[in-house]
């Protein structure tokens, strides 16, 4: 009896992996076909000029986002309905994912904001600003309800969670540094106009569009398959927007709770969260002497400036290589290579550049300026990562007092999975059913 379902499940999972890879293979075939070189007699079809996208959608999208956030907050905080949250998850995949093709996306909007701050000539669109600010405002009020069911990237990962394994906490903490690095790099890249890496390497948007670069589709497939066993790997160990949401969620006025009223310390919810976001009550007494804890704290506080300065220095050193991602720097390097004789053929970019008559010195000067910007940005990235690392280490050295099982406000996605593990919640639902004479909300 046990063997057959497992076999079936394995076949099905293998099929899921294969399909993800296949979509990627198909996507590479969508290249342009060159125009025929016929002479005379052939009437080329009239070039169609499609109308620009209606600006109404920007307002509709923003309104839908706001509504989705508020509904999700209601489902999480008032109704405590996992079924409702799942329904919202499916809606977000359908609307923000497949219908709107994953764009605008709050995760990527961080880059637009960074560029708008650093480049006065860039006007940030209304919808992008809305997509950046609304989830943050909601996080400040209700916790990460955006992650719960509104973010299409999170939603896709949420629906594929099948048999999640608990990632050891130490490993989760270590991997949790990656989003900080990614955020720093993304902000600097975007602010300098190099590229929007969060969008370029978005692993799921290609699924929504049923098209995309092969590498990205394979990356997305890997995240999906990994997500069956490790809950929301992208959200936890890569998402740069999640860093900011986490900060604000820690300060949120209201936040999802495991129990609707009081924790009875039954420990049934201890392993309920597939994302490892439940904090256990602290022990009243620890084996570690107080003096040792204090010494460690002082040491870490002293090390914090060193971490910031060291990170900044290292980041600044890495800034120049990072600047190679900027197209202007690439152009200058290619021009330089051509002038040095390292290559014997121009690229399309250098050919076009030379045809403008702009002196190459101007391209070199531009590249050097961008390199300097990246060095400055490298300081920012490094110092930011150093500060984050130091703050986390200090966090471990601080003695905290916690009496109940509580969601970790920074990392909890408010998905509501833990609700049903709590006996008090079950009691509440029974009470609701008895009172209203109808079925419980979930």
């Amino acid at each position: 009896m046990n063997t057959t379902p497992r076999t079936h499940t394995l076949v099905a999972r293998a099929a899921a992996l294969a399909c993800a890879c296949v979509i990627s293979l198909g996507a590479t075939a969508a290249d342009r076909f060159p125009r025929p070189e016929f002479e005379g007699g052939y009437a080329y079809p009239t070039v169609a000029n499609p109308h620009p996208a209606s600006s109404a959608w920007t307002y509709i999208d923003t309104a839908v986002l706001l509504a989705a956030l508020l509904v999700t907050a209601h489902l999480v905080l008032r109704r405590r309905s996992r079924a409702g949250i799942t329904a919202m998850t499916l809606f977000s995949i359908a609307y923000f994912g497949f219908w709107r093709r994953g764009c605008v996306c709050s995760v990527g909007s961080v880059q637009n904001v960074a560029l708008a701050i650093c480049d006065r000539t860039y006007g940030i669109p209304f919808a992008v600003l809305g997509f950046f600010l609304l989830p943050l405002a909601c996080a400040l009020l209700f916790g990460r309800v955006f992650c719960a069911a509104v973010c299409p990237l999170g939603a896709v990962q949420d629906v594929v969670v099948l048999r999640p394994v608990a990632v050891p906490r130490w490993l989760a903490h270590a991997l949790g540094m990656l989003p900080y690095v990614y955020l720093g790099i993304a902000v600097v890249m975007a602010a300098t106009g190099a590229l929007f890496p969060v969008c370029r390497f978005d692993p799921f948007v290609s699924f929504f569009r049923l098209n995309g670069p092969a590498g990205i589709l394979v990356l997305g497939a890997l995240f999906i398959v990994l997500g069956m066993f490790v809950g929301r790997p992208y959200c936890r160990f890569a998402c740069p927007y999640g860093v900011v949401l986490g900060w604000l969620s820690r300060l949120s006025k209201w936040h999802a709770t495991i129990t609707p009223d009081e924790c009875i310390q039954c420990r049934l919810c201890e392993n309920a969260c597939p994302f490892g976001a439940i904090n256990k009550p602290t022990q009243a007494e620890t084996a570690e002497p107080r003096g040792k804890e204090l010494r460690r704290l002082v040491l870490l506080l002293a090390a914090l400036p060193v971490l910031i300065a060291g990170g900044g220095w290292l980041g600044s050193r890495a800034g120049k290589p990072l600047s190679r991602a900027h197209p202007d720097v690439q152009l200058a390097l290619q021009l330089d290579a051509e002038e040095r004789g390292a290559v014997d053929r121009m690229t399309l970019q250098t050919e076009a550049f030379r045809a403008t008559g702009t002196p190459m010195a101007a391209a070199y000067a531009d590249a050097r300026k961008i390199e300097r910007q990246f060095v400055t940005g490298g300081w920012f990235i490094g110092a930011f990562v150093g500060l984050s690392l130091g703050a986390r280490l200090i966090g471990f050295a601080l003695r905290r007092r916690r009496e109940d099982y509580e969601p970790d406000r920074g990392t909890c996605f408010s998905c509501g999975r833990c609700f049903s593990y709590c006996p008090r919640e079950r009691l509440r639902r029974t009470s609701l059913t008895t009172t209203s004479g109808t079925h419980a909300p979930a």
């Binding site: 379902p5 079936h8 499940t9 076949v11 099905a12 999972r13 293998a14 099929a15 899921a16 294969a18 399909c19 296949v22 979509i23 198909g26 075939a29 969508a30 076909f33 099948l162 906490r169 130490w170 270590a174 991997l175 690095v181 049923l210 039954c266 201890e270 392993n271 309920a272 256990k280 602290t282 022990q283 007494e285 620890t286 290292l314 980041g315 050193r317 290589p321 200058a332 390097l333 002038e339 004789g341 014997d344 121009m346 399309l348 050919e351 045809a355 403008t356 008559g357 702009t358 002196p359 190459m360 010195a361 070199y364 000067a365 990562v385 690392l389 986390r392 280490l393 471990f396 050295a397």
Partner: protein, 593 residues
């Protein structure tokens, strides 16, 4: 005996398993078909079919064979059908795959839900376990720190090994094939790429001239450092262009232009340009004989420049020289460098300036470099190029509108500053590295007059914004004036006075201390040429060619008004006791035998 509920659950599980299995198999089959399609498409590659290519080659060789053309069309149609039907298959397959995946996921989720067991409290952890977890987390974070640092170091080492300094090889040194070129394609120069700038001579020039040598010549627009003040000189005060009295020589200026002559030693340089070409001329200062003339190959032909007006022309910018090299720039954005004997050393193209009227800023030779003010609609920049080989020493971007004024160099006692005027900034830059020393938001309009300087105060003027007196030490405004301000001609400052001549035919003199008007003098014709100071005299040529010569004094005292007999809109050069002035068609040397 099993309960009915348990039987139902087992049934649901079996159904979910069955659906998952079927969906999984469906997904696998669709995947296999798409993979097969993709591989086949890659193998056949209809867009680059060898048969089609062969036919195309044949057709190129024999274009008069319609049978080949028809065959190409038929084959091309076939190839297109194959390609697009393949794309359609992939797209349909992607939708089917998506549907299969959705069913598969639903079945798997249902299966997981059905097989889920009631939660049980896990094993209790002891008091040390939390401590141990914290310790492990700390070490893990430290490990993450090391990994991130190692990754950064790896990127650093890797990039250092690959990349060298940009631009070390110079510019335009090689001829490359264009990216789009097939084997038979032309090289880059023939494909319309930017013109190369060959280094015709690699002999380094002599060291830059000392200040005294600069002052004894007239090395650029408005003389030494661009300030309109001649070195020790006693130029003539009487001449008559019509009769030739007082005129040592008169030479034809072959191409019409509005740049002013410059003088270094025995050489007089000026440039000219029209729709047919751009040229640089060198005359013998003693005789007026043409020593050499050189054509400058433009990056774009002048007749393609749409915005150049007739009263600006293709060579409005005055040349510059340091005595070792001679520099000329034109409306096409091409800068050419020659030796005094006419050998072209290097050229640089700054791109066609996006300017209404045309480019008119003059060059400034300063020590071992040449300064280029390039304030255009595509962005404003100040460049310093090495006089020896044209290498760009620095470039400073400026947040200003297009301008037609020229840079000047001042010495404040503490340092040298390059002063540049444009809308809206009057700004000072370090000649060494181009860094901004100070700036003042005080200018406006289409700025053409260049700044003047004397005794710590910079004077910048434009009709639209008035004349501004700005302290060179910190860029603060000392005073301003608004009457009779020129729109083309530049002011000159000396001995506590600021003098300027306007298009409205008024010469004005202000007190440099506070801007008080000392005197004004109305004449019959307006001024485009800038007044220049020589000793205790001021020379101002009006647009008809009449020179208004007056004492540099706090009251107006006229010395003379000799006429050249030819329209003059250029600024005279004064060197060696002579005046070199360019009229509408000729260059004159005025002096005493």
């Amino acid at each position: 005996m099993p309960q009915p509920e348990q039987n139902n659950k087992a049934l649901y599980i079996r159904i979910a398993q069955g659906v998952a299995l079927v969906a999984g198999l469906f997904v696998l089959v669709v995947s296999a078909l798409i993979v097969f399609n993709h591989l086949q498409l890659k193998r056949t590659d209809p867009a680059n079919s060898p048969a089609l290519k062969r036919l195309m080659t044949e057709f190129r060789a024999q274009p008069d064979r319609p049978a080949i053309r028809e065959e190409i069309r038929a084959l091309d149609l076939l190839a297109r059908r194959a390609l697009f039907s393949s794309h359609a298959v992939v797209r349909s397959g992607a939708f089917m795959l998506l549907g299969g995946v959705i069913v598969l996921l639903c079945a798997l989720q249902a299966l997981a839900a059905l097989q889920r067991t009631a939660p049980m409290p896990p094993k209790c952890e002891g008091p040390d376990e939390a401590l141990e977890m914290n310790a492990r987390s700390r070490w893990a974070l430290a490990g993450a720190c090391v990994v991130i640092a190692a990754a950064a170091a790896y990127v650093l080492v890797l990039s250092h090994a690959e990349l060298g300094p940009l631009g070390a090889a110079g510019e335009g040194m090689r001829t490359l094939a264009p990216a789009t070129a097939a084997a038979e394609s032309a090289p880059a120069s023939a494909a319309g790429a930017a013109p190369a700038a060959p280094l015709a001579q690699s002999v380094p020039p002599a060291p830059p001239p000392p200040v005294e040598e600069v002052r004894s010549n007239w090395p650029g627009f408005r003389g030494p450092f661009g300030l309109g003040v001649a070195g020790a000189a006693d130029p003539p005060i009487t001449w008559d262009g019509a009769s030739g009295s007082g005129v040592l020589w008169k030479a034809v200026a072959p191409r019409k232009a509005y740049n002013s002559p410059i003088v270094w030693g025995d050489h007089v340089y000026f440039s000219g340009g029209d729709e047919k070409g751009l040229e640089v001329f060198c005359l013998d200062a003693s005789t007026g004989n043409l020593l050499w003339q050189r054509a400058v190959q433009p990056s774009t032909t002048p007749d393609k420049l749409q915005d150049v007006s007739d009263d600006t022309g293709y060579a409005a910018s005055t040349m510059a020289t340091d005595g070792r090299r001679v520099f000329a720039i034109f409306a096409t954005g091409d800068l050419a460098c020659f030796t005094p004997d006419g050998t072209q050393v290097w050229t640089r193209c700054f791109g066609v300036p996006a300017l209404s009227y045309g480019y008119a800023s003059s060059l400034l030779a300063y020590q071992d470099r040449v300064i280029v003010q390039f304030d255009t609609g595509d962005g404003a920049r100040l460049y310093a190029l090495a006089a020896a080989d044209g290498t760009q020493l620095w470039e400073t971007r400026r947040d200003v509108s297009p301008s037609w004024s020229s840079p000047v160099v001042i010495n404040t006692g503490a340092r040298d500053e390059i002063i540049v005027s444009a809308d809206p900034l009057l700004a000072a830059y370090s000649p060494a590295d181009g860094s901004e020393l100070w700036k003042l938001d005080c200018m406006g309009g289409e700025v053409a007059p260049s700044p003047a300087y004397d005794s710590g105060i910079v004077y910048a003027a434009n009709e639209a914004c008035g004349l501004k007196a700005v302290r060179a030490s910190d860029g603060t405004l000392a005073w301003e004036s608004s009457d009779n301000i020129p729109d083309v001609s530049s002011p000159v400052a000396a001995k506590g006075m600021v003098i300027f001549a306007s298009s409205g035919a008024v010469i004005s003199c202000l007190d440099a201390r506070d801007g008080t008007e000392l005197w004004t003098h109305e004449v019959d014709n307006g001024f485009y040429a800038s007044p220049v100071v020589a000793g205790d005299r001021v020379y101002a040529f009006d647009n008809t060619g009449v020179a208004h010569i007056f004492t540099l004094d706090r009251t107006y005292t006229e010395i003379g008004t000799p006429a050249l007999g030819e329209a003059v809109v250029t600024t005279p050069a004064i060197a060696g006791g002579r005046i070199y002035v360019r009229g509408d068609r000729h260059v004159y040397c005025i002096g005493v035998e």
